[in-house]
Assembly symmetry: C2
Homo-oligomer: 343 residues x 2
């Protein structure tokens, strides 16, 4: 069967009406809602077709219809293609004058949650170019050295190293020179056992210290596996009855607590980011996370220049206001873009 213009109109009307009310919508409603001027009986016939095509479904006999996952999909795809929405002026986001990345991200998550009334998540940007830019050890006091490691993108890591012996300034200088000449510009795959052995040997009696520093350095440029994710607006789930029976809510909330599941969304978004919009919509069971099978997830990738890419996502009921969510996310992307340009 074909999805002709009239069927499409009716499907859209069903989806839109259901988004608003959250109740199954009946034929009579559609008959009045659209300007097709068709009687409810005709609508019923069309609806039977749409149901056969798997685009809408009945929760039970004698109830109205609600969109199926596939029905939402048709709706969303059409919306995304149809109107390359002009970016509305969102109320000025409080993104200025935040210096710490962490604070900024939390801010973003919160703003989005407040604006949309859905739950939100944002992942810290993943650093792609993991090259060492600068290494230095300094003497904090007689027993402690401080290793400072800067990697590309000006991300800084520190490590305190406890030493037995007191090192004099000349030795410190020597070790610093050694570290920088041998390690600068290296990526993680360049640091192998052979190199470590060679540098250690060169360090002579201080090989142990050097070993510690190299370990710290290696850790710094690899250890970002566990990507940071910040969430906000979890309590918004409670605004949508269809998500709030005890079992579902509990599962959802615990998903939001344990970031493992969320990272799978982040990864999925970052990898399957073929389209130019950078917006991804997961409806119901399309989501990589099982617990969100009754939700929809809309994600966007953002970029803070330098290949530092992160993901921001909005999670709500399947009947979320896709239109608003998508344009809000687009705004956020631009805001983050601008922010980077300023700095």
């Amino acid at each position: 069967m074909e999805l002709d213009e009239r069927k499409r109109t009716i499907l859209n009307a069903i989806v839109r009406n259901y988004l608003e009310t959250g109740e199954p919508v009946g034929s009579r409603t559609i008959s009045k809602y659209t300007d097709l001027n068709l009687s409810s009986a005709t609508i019923r016939n069309e609806m039977a077709d749409l149901e056969e095509m798997g685009l809408i479904l009945q929760p039970h006999t004698s109830a109205g219809r609600i969109p199926s996952d596939q029905g939402y999909r048709v709706y969303v795809d059409e919306m995304l293609r149809d109107k390359e929405k002009e970016v509305e002026n969102m109320k000025e986001m409080l993104l200025d004058k935040e210096e710490k990345l962490e604070t900024l991200l939390k801010q973003v998550a919160k703003t989005l949650a407040t604006d949309t009334n859905y739950a939100t998540m944002i992942s810290a940007p993943q650093i792609r170019k993991n090259k060492l830019k600068f290494i230095q050890i300094s003497k904090v006091d007689d027993e402690h050295l401080l290793a400072t490691i800067v990697i590309e993108g000006n991300v800084i890591k520190n490590k305190i190293i406890t030493v037995e012996e007191v090192l004099d300034d000349a030795t410190m200088l020597k070790l610093n020179i050694l570290l920088n000449t041998r390690l600068d510009g290296l990526a993680v795959e360049d640091i192998n056992l052979g190199l470590i052995a060679a540098v250690k040997q060169e360090a002579g009696i201080h090989s142990e210290i050097i070993g510690g520093v190299i370990d710290a350095a290696a850790e710094s440029i690899t250890a970002d596996e566990d990507l940071q994710i910040y969430t906000s607006g979890t309590m918004n789930f409670f605004k949508y009855p269809e998500l709030t029976d005890s079992a579902k809510a509990s599962e959802l909330i615990s998903t939001f607590e344990d970031t493992k599941d969320l990272s799978s969304i982040v990864e999925d978004t970052l990898s399957s980011d073929g389209e130019d919009t950078g917006i991804q919509v997961y409806i119901g069971s399309e989501s990589p996370v099982q617990a969100m099978k009754d939700c929809s997830v809309v994600t966007a990738t953002y970029e803070l220049g330098d290949g530092m890419k992160g993901t921001v996502g909005i999670i709500g009921p399947k009947r979320m206001d896709y239109d608003k969510v998508i344009s809000t996310l687009k705004n956020m992307r631009h805001a983050l873009d601008d922010l980077y340009k300023k700095n």
Copy 2:
């Protein structure tokens, strides 16, 4: 009226029974539950007294009794005094080999949540001795300097400073010496405008850079106002029906999301920490947070040496298993203690 031995026994029986079942408990139950060998009629008389004293209450006529906040209080106080519980051997906590403080704290929160089936929170230790220990600037590349600031307790802060001019090694050395001689060992209150002006003057043409570094330093030793709090086990609320009607759950969860409310608990705990046990119990409306008026909160302070104090808390229904929670928290304190000694 006096709370004699028999009343006390009956109160305890009521509380304990209610903790187990979560249902109002009736006179007949108590009559069998205790070894007082009293008929239900007698118990009823005593219960009427207890109700008059405000220690128990009836959800509605013809229901059993449940403990009031005040009743819980009597019960908990007695328990805390009675048995200075031997610390049971808890299953080995996974506190070893965690190097990062943040990871450790998250771990602790999670372990506690899993062990107790309640929601948990832990605050990062607040640094009390805010003295500068070591300052250093280094050249990352021609346009960027890295300021590294170590404060007591070996907490490290970094800041990247962008410079217009390229600085040569001699200048760097000079500035470093200047910074360390003038600022080492200073507390936040010592850094005033006068000092800043003096140091800037000494720096001559590089006063701007020095200004930036001093700003960063001052920020480092003060800016920890917004204390970090990690939570876990929020979904455990759903295990207790009395907390799970939509309105309450939503309020609770949002309290857990916004750390502001939680910090008020942390502050309260840290300040009113008179007793040697370091354990604090807030029952219902005793809690400084309004949203938790249907919960109980048990907190403990922990110390990672060096006056770095933090708070760990467990939040559950009023009928939580105080006994278990308290001994679990005690264990956790000791575990954290040991951990510090090892490092």
